[in-house]
């Protein structure tokens, strides 16, 4: 029976509960026991009992939540020592929306500190291991969420994406990850990294699960002034064909240096599959893409340096006692933040400081305008942009920690969409040397229904099997 439960997608589990074939408590206990036995360090907290479940469209299927989200009375540490054992007095809207739709909280998942990282090695609570190969990273920053879903420790998980933090770990772990249109999901109660880029979204086993999850996640929230109502309902995808669809491939970018041969091969096979399903493939250019990476690594740290000013030992979290207020601030922040967070605070502070503001932040914001225009121009001629999600498969633990810049380059394909605020999905496109490769499909703002439909058709045709990773993890 445990194997049967394990084989069910979240949507299938919800359906089995609805028709009486599966008891809700049995499903919760199945995943609770697996999450509690986690050997990947994917979880930082696991529920002891099933919480009160509201009857709703998510059917009682338990939910793993990235530790960046505040959960009332439950540790919400954001991968940081500065928030060790911090239990917030309120719950994030995204988590509350999913709970109200019938997804009880199974556990909180590990992540790069304050979502800054592409490997989950920047967590104060230790790295997460990739269930496909435990000597490799799961990606980041939502590495715990991705590993938990891939290893079958959770049916689905909530993550966040600022420059690729849902899509890249989904790609490296062989699951589906959706970064929404900016503003479609409330950021209230999501510990802020870069406010103009942060987006919350699903990490799931398949595209149908992502749609079911996402339709219960979106919505305008009066507590987040930047949130917007999604125009119309999110539908469950049904497409099996791509007739009449045009996919644009940024040729220079995809043919560039640093793309692994196995990743390129899998990507080209996906394009061939898309053609067989009726799609037209055209070339396109995003000339600003290399500069987008540079702009991102100014804008995100600049916003982070401002957002992370709140961690000062006064209202919550760690305090290092000192004789003056100023010494207490500076020592608390020295002791509480990890190396990458310090690096980004310093870059951000530098970029915003007097004399450098226009040269760095001002120019980066102009690049952001250029990137948005280039993507919008492509969408006048094509339905979607397709790229590999990550230039490489999962890399080895420790391989890139010594070189922050090399780590940043992992985000080359995901950052343009983050700067433009446009939605993008990563779906598994196959394996390269036994490790998953992801395909990214990006569309214009609020095109999630069309993206999910296209991803569904491709997913069916590709027929990726993630069962090998789901048997491990405990």
């Amino acid at each position: 029976m445990a194997d049967d439960i394990q084989a069910l997608s979240a949507a299938a589990a919800a359906a089995a509960i609805a028709d009486g074939g599966l008891a809700r408590a049995e499903l919760f206990e199945h995943y609770r026991a697996r999450a509690a036995a986690d050997e990947l360090n994917a979880f930082t907290w696991v529920a002891e009992d099933e919480p009160t479940v509201i009857n709703g469209p998510l059917g009682g299927v338990p939910l793993a939540v990235k530790d960046l989200f505040c959960t009332e009375g439950i540790p919400s540490q954001a991968g940081s020592k500065i928030l060790e054992r911090y239990c917030p007095p309120y719950t994030a809207t995204a988590v509350a929306n999913l709970a109200a739709a019938g997804a009880p909280l199974l556990g909180k998942t590990n992540q790069d500190e304050f979502a800054m990282g592409s490997s989950n090695e920047n967590s104060a609570y230790g790295p997460v291991l990739n269930p496909w190969d435990r000597s490799r990273v799961p990606g980041g920053s939502s590495g715990g969420s991705a590993a938990a879903v891939a290893a079958g420790l959770a049916p689905w998980a909530l993550g966040t994406d600022t420059g690729g933090s849902i899509r890249q770990p989904a790609s490296l772990c062989g699951i589906v990850g959706l970064k929404p249109t900016y503003g479609a999901v409330s950021r209230y109660g999501m510990i802020a990294f870069a406010s103009s880029l942060d987006s919350a979204g699903p990490l799931t086993r398949d595209v149908t699960d992502a749609a079911l999850f996402y339709r219960n996640l979106v919505g305008r929230d009066s507590a987040d002034a930047t949130s917007v109502a999604f125009p119309g309902p999110i539908d469950l995808p049904t497409s099996e064909r791509l007739d009449g669809i045009t996919l644009a491939v940024p040729t220079a970018l995809v043919d560039g240096e640093g793309i692994e041969a196995g990743v390129r091969e899998s990507f080209e096979a996906s394009l061939e599959t898309a053609r067989e399903l009726g799609a037209t493939i055209v070339g396109c250019e995003i000339p600003s893409a290399p500069y987008a990476l540079s702009a991102y690594y100014v804008i995100a740290p600049a916003e982070a340096s401002s957002n992370l000013a709140r961690f000062d030992g006064v209202r919550y979290g760690l305090r290092t006692e000192a004789s003056t207020l100023d010494a207490m601030y500076t020592q608390t922040r020295h002791d509480g933040f990890g190396a990458e967070v310090k690096r980004r605070i310093l870059i951000g502070t530098y970029a915003l400081s007097s004399g450098y503001y226009d040269a760095y932040y001002g120019r980066a914001q102009r690049v952001r305008t250029v990137v948005s225009r280039e993507l919008a121009e492509i969408f006048t001629k094509a339905d979607f942009i397709a790229t590999p999600t990550s230039p490489t498969v999962a890399f080895r633990l420790g391989e890139r920690t010594a070189d922050p810049l090399a780590m940043y380059l992992s985000d080359l394909f995901t950052i343009p969409m983050s700067l433009a605020g446009t939605p993008a999905i990563s779906i598994p496109s196959g394996l390269s040397e036994g490790l998953p490769v992801g395909l990214q499909i990006c569309g214009p703002a609020f095109s999630e229904n069309r993206i999910l439909d296209a991803a569904h058709a491709l997913e069916r045709a590709i027929g990726f099997d993630g069962a090998a990773a789901r048997s491990g993890g405990v």
Partner: protein, 95 residues
Amino acid sequence: MIDRDELLHVARLARLALDEDELQTTAAELSSILDHVATIDELDLEGIEPTAHIGDVEDSLRADQVARSLPREVALAPAPAIRDDGFLVPSPQGE
């Protein structure tokens, strides 16, 4: 290139104490990142407006009415130190 004095100044602005070994490694790392960022200078950005926010969100105003918020004791509960009705901090001037 960012030098030691400049780094100390920025760390001071960020209210971040740095150890000696952090100072050494950080200066080099920041310089290499800022060099990469400087590639932006290759772009002609003349006449291009900056984007601070994506989307067309108008000012979002609500009626100026008192609404339910966290009770004081709940908001104070996670603080490292409190006294009476507020957060307790060391004196700015020291003892």
